[in-house]
């Protein structure tokens, strides 16, 4: 390997390499990165959903769930919204005030899925939520490739709803520096 170690030093002394290496890669404008930096804001979330595709949004949502842990938020995403990719309903609104688009079938609000102070239950709930978001991401990718996929009764059509207590626990744990899982 010494041959390439020596070569490495020579490579970096090349004037063109020096000039190129002085350039900085563009910062990503993906929403998730901004979410991470700012710990999440509902208005920014809505702004993003309005102008970007659902795939990136879902990744952003997953990262937000994993990292930012904003409390009392819920995500209601219909299969059709995902297919259209431009009308994700009820994004980033507090769970108590979720409005369902009139043409959507009524959202199924789950009961609080964890008891306050129940870390194990919160773990399970969060894991399930992330699994559903990621599987939904995959389902939407499939749907975008195959528009004959009309199985609106599948599990992935159900809205995702998480109790405020789950978010509060998650946020508290992140503040304490502990892992979300």
């Amino acid at each position: 390997m010494s041959e390439f170690n020596d070569s490495d030093k020579q490579d970096l002394s090349d004037p063109l390499v020096r000039q190129l290496s002085a350039m900085r890669p563009s910062e990503p404008d993906g929403f998730a990165f901004r979410v991470i930096y700012s710990a999440g804001r509902a208005d920014a979330f809505r702004e993003f959903a309005a102008r970007r595709g659902q795939r990136l949004w879902l990744n952003a949502a997953a990262i937000l769930i994993l990292v930012a842990g904003s409390s009392a938020w819920t995500w209601e995403i219909s299969r059709r919204d995902m297919r259209n990719g431009n009308n994700i309903a009820s994004v980033g609104q507090p769970a108590e005030s979720v409005a369902v688009a009139a043409e959507d079938k009524p959202a199924v609000h789950s009961q609080p899925v964890v008891q306050p102070n129940s870390r194990v239950a919160a773990d399970q709930s969060l894991n399930q939520l992330v699994d559903r978001l990621l599987s939904r991401h995959q389902a939407s990718t499939l749907a975008s490739r195959n528009f004959s996929d009309r199985d609106s009764s599948s599990e992935s059509t159900q809205p995702v709803s998480v109790s405020p207590s789950t978010w509060m626990q998650l946020q508290q744990r992140l503040r304490n520096g502990s892992s979300v899982f």
Partner: protein
């Protein structure tokens, strides 16, 4: 069970996201999606990778290649091109402007472009590049210099300052 430390995770996002996006851009047209997906997987990975940055580069490359293949399969059904974007921050202090560099890099074969990006902006050694791209260090070295010479020609960079041959 080893877990992903949130603080370490955030630091990794902050320090490596731009470089990873540039790297992913060499293989697909949705680099930010790919990098985000990789970060999601990193956070969920159990046990947490012992070398998360190396792990990220490997996952990003695989995801980018998959995305590129998927796009090629769908190419007949889609319209519209990706939005042109500069790969580098515009900076008047740079002796090479971002537009010129982006355009010149885009002319290179993907293997050479990927190697140059890893070497110059991602601080990879030729050994690391070889492991990541599943080739030999000698091939990585050859790709780097072939790409560099093409860049030199395309960008009209004077070579008299070169200190070695």
């Amino acid at each position: 069970m080893s877990e992903c430390n949130p603080d370490l995770f955030l630091a990794t996002v902050r320090d490596h996201s731009a470089r990873l996006v540039l790297f992913a851009r060499q293989r697909c047209e949705i680099p930010e999606d790919v990098v985000q997906e990789a970060f999601v997987r990193l956070f969920s990975e159990r046990p947490a990778p012992s070398e998360p940055v190396s792990w990220l580069y490997r996952v990003v490359r695989n995801l980018a290649l998959n995305a590129s293949r998927s796009r090629q399969r769908r190419a007949g059904h889609e319209t519209g091109a990706s939005v042109p974007k500069l790969w580098f921050q515009a900076d008047l202090a740079d002796s090479i402007d971002a537009k010129t560099a982006t355009e010149a890099l885009q002319l290179l074969p993907a293997d050479q472009r990927e190697t140059i990006v890893l070497r110059i902006w991602c601080d990879h050694s030729f050994q690391q590049i070889a492991e990541l791209t599943e080739t030999s260090p000698a091939t990585a070295h050859r790709r780097f210099h072939a790409g560099l010479e093409t860049l030199r020609t395309k960008m009209g960079v004077v070579t008299f300052e070169r200190t070695f041959e």
